[in-house]
């Protein structure tokens, strides 16, 4: 079953073309890893899917449902009301490079606040689930801590738990480990790997090529707003077809 189908995505910021005609299909349970140089549009792609940015052209569907717009009786594409868009966003969980935890709330509350307020989950149930999720990401007992007391890796794991609390169909990761000290990257990747083992549908934007190799069902290489190559990770790593991917992989091998 196709969870995400995107066609002809185009997005510009002022003069800069971030997405230049992107087509993407994501199946249920598939793990897509997106790699590419800075400015290639990888972050923009996941942000557009999560509707944090409005696409300038093209369309995205979540299952059968068009994201952000509806076709009314007269064939006019009308923007959905914000309540509907919020409902669509609940189907996707997003994990950000800079964690973006709610600093004024303790960790536990960061996790149960959205299910309680947006999904109407009874507070006891929401709190119980938050305890479960904290355990799942290896942070039991931290529910009463404030985010500023946690290390970067711990904060990111809380962010993952927070996104999971909404029981999304799809998890999006925008460079989840790029802001972390190298020692902390492993613990976050481990959590993401465990999600992969549970067949969660995921799109992960990352620079961690080793991780991509281990976890991805399909690897996508983007550059200058377009998907250049796409396929099983082994294939792309061992026999890149385009010069651009070759150069990119070389540069990474050099800096490793």
């Amino acid at each position: 079953m196709t969870v995400i189908s995107a066609r002809g995505l185009r997005k510009t910021f002022g003069n800069v073309v971030a997405l230049d005609g992107v087509d993407l299909d994501v199946q249920r349970g598939e793990i897509i890893v997106v790699i590419g140089p800075s400015g290639s549009g990888k972050s923009t792609l996941v942000r557009c899917i999560d509707q944090l940015e409005r696409i300038d052209a093209g369309s995205i569907k979540l299952g059968d449902e068009l994201l952000g717009y509806e076709l009314d009786g007269k064939g006019v594409l009308r923007r959905l009301p914000s309540a509907k868009i919020a409902a669509q966003r609940r189907e996707m969980g997003m994990v950000f490079q800079s964690f973006n935890l709610f600093t004024h709330l303790p960790v536990g509350r960061n996790i149960w606040e959205a299910p309680y307020r947006a999904l109407g989950v009874p507070i006891k149930e929401a709190k119980a689930r938050s305890v479960e999720l904290l355990e799942r990401v290896g942070l039991s007992g931290k529910a009463d801590e404030y985010p500023d007391r946690l290390s970067g890796g711990q904060q990111q794991r809380v962010a993952i738990a927070r996104a999971l609390a909404m029981r999304p169909q799809l998890m999006l990761f925008d460079e989840p480990t790029s802001a972390l000290d190298p020692e902390l990257v492993g613990e976050v990747l481990a959590v993401i790997k465990s999600l992969a083992e549970e067949q969660m549908t995921m799109i992960v934007v990352t620079h961690e090529l080793q991780f991509a190799r281990e976890v991805a069902d399909r690897l996508i290489f983007m550059d200058e707003g377009r998907i250049i190559e796409s396929g099983p990770p082994e294939e792309l790593f061992t026999s890149p077809k385009t010069a651009r991917l070759q150069t990119f992989l070389q540069r990474f091998a050099e800096s490793a």
Binding site: L52, F96, L101, A114, A118, D148, A163
Partner: protein, 299 residues
Amino acid sequence: MSDIDRRGTVRSRFEAQHAPDADLDKIDSSRGVERRKPALWITWAICALIAFEVLRFLVGNEKLNWPVVGQYLFSLPILEGLKWTIILTIVGMVLGVALGTIICLMRLSPYLPLRVIARVWINVFRSVPPLVQLLFWFNLAYLFPTLSLGIPFGPSLFEWNTNSVITPLTAAIIGLSLYTSPYAAEIIRGGLMSVPRGQLEAATSLGLSPTDTFFRIRLPQATRIILPPMGNQTIAMLKGTSLVSIISMSDLLGAARTIYGNNFEVVPLLLVTVIWYMVLTSILTALQGWLERRYSRGY
């Protein structure tokens, strides 16, 4: 500077100047003592001198007439005036902040007409001196003998005689609230804008409604930034209420002026007001501190 040390051996100039003359193993920094600080002692001495002179003035100058100050400090008209000062401060701030919040939201609204109205409002009410604003509202009947509510360009449903609506009290409340509203609006706007955009994106991506994002995520964090300047504004308002004595409202200063108008003890009565303003300001400052600490959890 000789290159020859005490024992008469020639050493390099560097060694002579930088010769270690104690064994590092024997030196323990924990036994170190602070340097003598003559500048500090002099500063303390000057402060003590100033304090002494101030006290000498306060105690010695008979023109201050402390007995009269004591006589009127808790007198009925003064306490009555104090009551009105406190009421006006509270009402003025509550209404001013409520209005200010609306204006602020209009300022941040995606709709252009609302943004324009908000900017004009802020401009106008920040430009006119508060005293002029109070005098204007007090004399509203001159421009508008009657106030009416009804259908625009049509019949009016309710009508009031402006003179009976506008009293010193109502003019004071209207004037002070409207005067505060633009400052409150800007303070709130500053606070709202200080909340990191990433957190708002996270709230949005979790599917929290705009209302929930505003009240649960943005406003609580904005409050921490809003409190110090808003506390400042409240304390300024406390003193600002003294302007209403010009429109015949008997606040603390008004009561004091009435009394010294009769007994000519100007300085003692002003001292009475100073003392009361200082007491109230201290209470407000303590309250602000408590609120700030409460909202600082998690930082």
